[in-house]
Homo-oligomer: 500 residues x 2
């Protein structure tokens, strides 16, 4: 066997474990029976541990070294695959296998406890698990070695290469000022949209049927995926041709399902449209969390909250909504779904205030890892920050600190990617308009294909062959720039609220 | 670590792989997207191969030998666990790992092809796969070495220890004569039940809701399981506390779902009621395929087709059936669901003719493995035998040779267990009546618990600690005896058809 064949075989085996693990998690969230959860956690721990052993074996390390010696003659897909495998290898190799296994079991149990704690709205149930998740993650950072000067920067770099608190403090600082100014103007505006008609009773089955229609329309391939219901919506890759999405149905607010589904669809379209050339290799994945999020947010906001998208789809929605929108004009509907109002729940937040939710989490995480904040103080600090930035205060843990699953999975450093993705998305939109000046007309005609194809050409197909800033530069001709997002928000909300 | 701890750890790891594999299969049958099937097959192949390596490792072999040297001091659960592990070890050790892996991949692909072939009613699509499945199984028998004098006996022994074609030819021969005589009398009887009211339109959702009610009533634990829909119903153990069942809904014949669900529930009750003492060990499973089938058939026939069970449940069925049974008397309903009529589909066969379906498959398998029958001749032979034994002839492959999934999974030698299970079940029923002479009154009162508890005490709890004939002997005081089944059928059908 050539070195390349050996490599392909080894990463193929790792992929098989990853498929099993993804399915074990998916099943746990979509309806696995309660009593089986403890054994399921053990199973996940065992298989993760085996995968860990495969990805850190000495023989794989030697194979990588041999391949690296030949990298000048390699095509870019293989070369980048070897680089990604090396990065993961070095990251994993430093953790003792038994500690890794315990960490995975802890995460799996913590997710289950988090669900119960959220249902009971009781942070104290989840607190000991979160304590342990933070302390174990700190221990891992000790093994990895600090990157870019702080514990938290080490975590940031894993999701978005090169990202630091210094950069984020600056970008978020600038953005925060402009968003808060807008939020203030909106609060003072007398031109508020009517929204009462949004909250009729919209039966779950009808919401599900409409969600299927929208997914179909956006180009989601149901022969290579499926839609299910979970407490917290997500997209997961089971295998290259099995990319699943989930959503959540709130019968009193259909927006949760509709925009949640479109959001996850954006993630799924990325994975469904990776180039076949990447098949089975480590680069057969998104370029970074931020770029991934740029795709979900692009579809959620620049497609799903666009007025022309609804010119084309409001009639369909009406059919499923059984009278709820009778007599409602599409322009009023569009203003209503774009209402901006400081609120408590991130995934239900509007486009404008969304980034503030992220900044709060970012500041808390930074404090947890740089030693300024203790786990037990989180509920109080969380609530205080919501009051400070958004002017609203959670009345219980379920609508406060327990709302997101991320910390239960030890995904610290992940949240900032949401805001970065938002900035990337605004930059893509701006660049796309040069190639597709008829963007709005396409949406009005219900023809999403050219938009999706632009994203496939510039983003999706490349997987992790290109790094985030390379994708951004090649697609837009510039680097990270918060101006596009800020300008877009100012223009859109000035129109909706008739601001001066 | 003590030897026992090492053993527990090793089989615990094997269990984790088994859980992943069971879920990968379950998902494949309950709704995995079509385009992901090829990669899924690869994944199943890889993990099966890893499990195979674990179960045949030299170090595990040495551990088993060390444990066997100490077996006099062991408690029975550990001793039987070591015996079962040894049996599997010796069986697997003889197959070259790469061939094993290919065999598993073949089965997985064949199941998918079988589904398509059945949908297209085209045996020729499936034929090359079946050829390969038979020839590969023969090769495996070559590795294992023949047992009890023939290739097919080797397979029988794996499902039901000690079973041979000699025994089956005799028992089936006796039973066949009595069943065919009854079938003849019934054909000549003028007292046939009215059945027209069985075939109204019974919506799928209502059937599903009724199925949930019945499962609940029989004592199925939904916190340790779930019910889904598949082409071919089955029960699967994901883990000790996650025992799933599936069923199939035919809107023109609700019996498919109701009796299918009750059947799979019988399997599930066995697994849900294994003693906690067997936790994580190789004996935490049914004693044999025949004993397992005795539990599903017990519930399907001796509970589900009992007149008093319907005295208690016909009202509930009427509620879900929306008018279908209006004006129908429960006695007429009971006669109708017990109509005996030679038919084409095994899983829809009545109690009386069911065993004839098994005998046909048994004879064909025996011929395939003893060299008398070629795969290509199966459709013709299948149809001929149906005409000979049952007087009906399939008009296409879907209702003929393609109806069962078993061969696609290389489960040759499995079918006879269904008929054995039937005989065991009749023997259990006979013995149970001594302890629960009020059996019919219990069912009439909707109180299934004492019946289930009797089976748990005598059968379920022991798992594979006791061997099949030991369970039978301890529970009934006798060995295998077809008389109880034959007598039961004669009495029941004489009543329904008023035979002399």
């Amino acid at each position: 066997m050539t070195l390349e064949q050996q490599f392909t075989e080894h990463v193929g085996k790792m992929r098989a474990y990853q498929e099993a693990l993804s399915l074990l998690y998916w099943d746990l969230r979509t309806g696995a029976p309660k009593k089986g959860v403890d054994l399921r956690s053990e199973t996940i721990g065992t298989l993760s541990s085996e995968l860990f052993a495969l990805s850190t074996s000495d023989s794989f390390g030697e194979l990588l070294s041999s391949l690296e010696a030949e990298k000048d003659g390699m095509d870019v897909v293989l070369r980048r695959s070897v680089e990604e495998a090396r990065k993961e290898y070095d990251l994993s190799k430093k953790i003792p296998p038994e500690e890794y296994r315990e960490f995975i079991v802890l995460q799996s149990k913590a997710e289950s406890v988090w669900e119960d704690a959220k249902a009971a709205s009781d942070f104290s149930m989840f607190e000991p698990y979160l304590e342990k998740l933070v302390s174990t993650t700190k221990k891992m950072i000790g093994y990895w070695g600090e990157k870019n000067g702080s514990a938290y920067n080490t975590l940031l770099d894993q999701y978005e290469p090169g990202m630091t608190t210094e950069i984020l403090d600056e970008v978020f600082g600038a953005l925060r000022g402009r968003i808060i100014a807008l939020v203030q103007k909106i609060a003072d505006s007398e031109q508020k949209p009517e929204t009462g008609f949004l909250f009729g009773h919209f039966p779950k089955e009808a919401q599900r049927d409409f969600s299927f229609q929208v997914l179909e329309q956006l180009g989601y391939d149901f022969e290579a995926g499926r839609l299910d219901e979970t407490v917290h919506p997500f997209m997961t890759t089971i295998n290259r041709h099995d990319i699943r999405v989930t959503t959540k149905y709130d019968e009193k607010d259909f927006r949760t399902a509709v925009f949640g589904t479109i959001h996850e669809c954006g993630h799924a379209l990325y994975e469904q449209n990776l180039s076949e050339k990447l098949s089975g290799l480590p680069v057969e994945t998104g370029s970074s969390m931020g770029i991934h999020e740029s795709q979900s947010l692009f579809f959620e906001n620049f497609v799903g909250r666009n007025d022309k998208f609804w010119s084309s789809n409001f009639g369909l929605l009406k059919e499923y909504a059984a009278g709820q929108f009778e007599g409602v004009d599409v322009a009023d509907y569009w203003r209503a779904i774009n209402e901006s109002k400081p609120s408590l729940i991130r995934i239900e937040a509007d486009e404008l205030t969304y980034a503030l939710h992220i900044m709060i989490r970012y500041e808390l995480e930074k404090g947890l890892f740089n030693g300024d904040i203790a786990v037990k103080d989180l509920p109080q600090l969380w609530n205080d920050k919501y009051e400070e930035y958004l002017g609203v205060r959670p009345s219980n843990d379920a609508e406060g600190v327990l709302q997101d699953v991320h910390w239960a999975g030890a995904s610290f450093g992940y949240f900032p990617s949401y805001a970065l993705g938002y900035m990337y998305a605004a930059q893509f939109k701006n660049a796309m308009l040069k190639d597709l000046p008829n963007y709005d007309e396409l949406l009005e005609a219900g023809n999403v294909a050219p938009i999706r194809e632009w994203l496939t050409e510039k983003v999706h197909q490349h997987g992790a062959v290109k790094k985030p800033l390379e994708i951004l530069q090649d697609a837009t001709g510039e680097g990270l720039n918060a101006e596009h997002l800020a300008g877009y928000l100012e223009e859109k909300y000035s129109k909706i609220y008739q601001l001066n």
